[in-house]
């Protein structure tokens, strides 16, 4: 097993651990809490 592969395995372990922690606590970068969609972008088509 190479040093590079060991580092990659560590990277995988960190990512997996973080993902499972987030899943257990229902954290997501993409949740919409308190985020009103039209607050930042006014409604209407983006078509030019």
């Amino acid at each position: 097993m190479t040093r590079r592969l060991i580092l990659f395995a560590l990277w995988c372990a960190i990512l997996l651990g973080g993902s499972l922690f987030a899943a257990f606590n229902a954290y997501s970068f993409y949740s919409d809490d308190e985020d009103r969609p039209t607050a930042s972008d006014p409604p209407g088509p983006a078509h030019k």
Partner: protein
Amino acid sequence: MSAGRAITCPACGGAIEVRAAGFSVNLACQHCGSLLDVSRPEVALIRKYKRAMNRFALEIGKRGTVFGQEWEIVGALRRKDQIAIWQEFLLFNPYLGYRWLVVADGQWQFGTPVADRPQGHLNRVTWRGESFGRLGRDQSTSTTAVAGEFYWRVKVGDTATATLFQSGETILSRENSDGEENWTQLVPVAEAEIENAFGLKRRSLPRRKAAQGLMNFRAAPGMEQDDLGRMFMLATAISLFAAIAMALLAGPTTKAGRMIQVPVGGRVDPVKVGTITVERPWQFVTVEADTNTFENRWVDLEYNLVDRSSEQSIDAFGLVEHYAGTDSDGAWSEGSYHGETMFGHIPRGTYDVYASGTAHGWPVDPLPNDAWGQVETINVWVKAETGTMSWGMWLTLVIALFAWPLTILWRRYRDK
């Protein structure tokens, strides 16, 4: 050291010194790169070139001491396999014969031709009482540049099949070419020793990442380059495992839903959609909104999860919009009749789900349809659900997992 022999290049007329006179049979002119036959007194032109290939990390003709012996660099090769580029230097000492210096990825190895052929099978050989295990697959190598003199006929385009065997830091390299088999013992040598011995043109070193998969360096610490497949397999396995684990951690599921009618140009006050239960300490709650078809309208939706025990409300918002029109390019449309909103980090409890909304026309609200003031409405089917997982988080994980091996793969092909 040996006395050289001065010759004149029959291609360009340049003066050349044959450093290993009597041993060398092949010489690449340092001035024009033409290949010459120097095995006989009369120099013969084998192949004419117009430009010498001088981009090597060590200079031909330099003398220096490696492992306590003095060597002169008489030849240099640039070679590659499917994924790597490296340089090999032929060293000569008239009393000791020939040796090799091989450089790739900043690592140097000193090579000694092996006369007593190792014994063994496909995956393991024995040499001088030591067992060597095979490293990776056979690699097809080719020569891309030649400079200096050699004791065999060498030219650009020569190919060979190389196999490596390792024991500790020592590598045995087996090369098959035109039915001939050659073995070389390779041991690591410090770059500082090479620099002290011969000087080093660092700008001409093979690019570090170009050396991935290099046949002669796989066994050096941290240099095993045949791990990319394992990285992809590991990333795939963890992606699948994470999807299953995240789905299991998201559950269990409860659902509630109902349809609400939102007047265009008006609003609908909060309507109870139903009751859901968060059974785990924390769960995601997803609210989906699907509407009937419309054009040039948008619906702003507000959702409230009201905790029955504390009467506290957690709020989030959704949007459904769809537009269509015609311009000089023809008809266009954008938007969707579906919207999805995800509540994160919702604590355990029972929640009443409320939905309210406003709908509007674009660019302005429409007028009432008839004299009775009847207004257009949009039907919105709202569905709230616990136990969903965040696919965005999973996709982020997958991208982060595969970024590493994909970057290595990209750099390999870029360097190639």
